[in-house]
């Protein structure tokens, strides 16, 4: 039995130092986020597999890349995927990854003296965090537009196999982007409250890893779902 902490003389008790390192000398939070990302890979591959297995097996339209005529009404439905809009949202998400690494670099180099205007812009962590969050929100806006237009064109999650697997896959991804945006907003709040410095670089690094993971998943989804017919 150890004595309760309240019985110890406070003046002689050593201050508990923050210690997050594993026996490998790595920060356990970073090891944790990589393990989480690994498990997320499996989640998304299961969703992508489901989409691919059901691909081309829908009995009724609308279809992603082919025109379909409703036999009961004679109504012709065009291919439902809007490649130009999705290409734009893909580009926005790719750029958000650039903004995120710039935010991380800005936090890591917070204490480094900035002499030129360019250095000050690149070293502005608030700017890059805002840009990343804005790009993520724009991506979500594109997705909301896409989902709404699909529903107006007659494709819901219950319409056919394509609708079920498509909305599940892209909806899960959108939920991850939403979580990422909320995470970025919390980092911004910390930055405004007390300022993010190089001592916080790991906090931003972990958020950045999650954000880039969401980006790489979209890279795969964009090719497999949207571009390959």
């Amino acid at each position: 039995m150890t004595a309760p902490a309240t019985h110890l003389p406070a003046t002689h008790a050593p201050a508990p130092a923050p210690h997050h390192y594993t026996t490998l000398g790595l920060d356990s939070r970073k090891v944790g986020i990589w393990a989480f990302i690994g498990s997320e890979c499996m989640l998304f591959v299961s969703l992508i597999s489901t989409y691919l297995i059901y691909k081309g097996r829908s009995v009724v339209g609308p279809f992603p890349h082919e025109t379909w005529t409703d036999p009961t009404t004679g109504h012709v439905l065009k291919p439902i995927l809007n490649i130009p809009v999705t290409s734009a949202s893909t580009f926005v998400l790719l750029m958000s990854s650039l903004f995120m690494v710039l935010a991380l670099a800005a936090v890591q180099n917070k204490e480094v003296a900035k002499h030129t205007r360019g250095e000050r812009v690149l070293g502005n962590s608030k700017l890059w965090l805002w840009m990343t969050a804005l790009a993520g929100t724009t991506f979500l806006g594109f997705q909301a537009f896409e989902f709404t237009s699909f529903v107006h064109e007659g494709l819901t999650i219950r319409t056919n196999l394509f609708g079920s697997s498509f909305f599940t896959l892209t909806g899960f991804h959108g939920a991850h982007v939403t979580a990422g945006v909320l995470w970025l907003v919390t980092l911004l709040a910390i930055d405004y409250r007390r300022g993010l410095g190089s001592r916080d670089s790991l906090l931003v690094d972990i958020a950045a890893l999650y954000w880039h993971f969401v980006d790489v998943i979209w890279i795969v989804i964009f090719t497999l779902v949207y571009l390959i017919k």
Binding site: Y21, L24, G25, L26, D27, K30, V31, W34, A35, I37, G38, S39, C41, M42, F44, V45, S46, I48, S49, L52, I53, K55, I83, S87, T90, F91, L94, M95, S97, L98, M100, V101, L102, A105, Q108, N109, V112, G118, E119, L122, S198, R199, S201, L202, A208, L209, H212, F213, D215, V216, I219, V220, F222, T223, L224, L227, I228, K229
Partner: protein, 122 residues
Amino acid sequence: MDTHASTTNLPDSAEAHAHAPHGEEHAHPTWSTYWKVATILGLITVGEVWAYYIPSFVAGRGFVPTLLFLSGLKFTIVVMFYMHLKYDHRIFRVLFTGPLLVAAITLIGLMFLFGHLFIKIM
């Protein structure tokens, strides 16, 4: 514009390095590298979408492999440079590529199982 955005300058990482005498972590890329990577990613995306609008290429045999290659290339570039897997400790590579490999094998296995992929024998 280059900076010395090395994790070795940071208090957290400094302690981490003290625990990791083998020094398997390296300095992260510079801002200019990040911009170059973004340009490459943007150009590859433009190439992919361009290819989608060339009917003769879409109808050909090379379309799907090309898109899969370009997608894999973008995936690798983001993971290596933006997620710093190229520069970070080897254990992170194992933690990421291990599950990714299992997931990829599962995907390929399911594609064979459901007839989306097949091997022609004789």
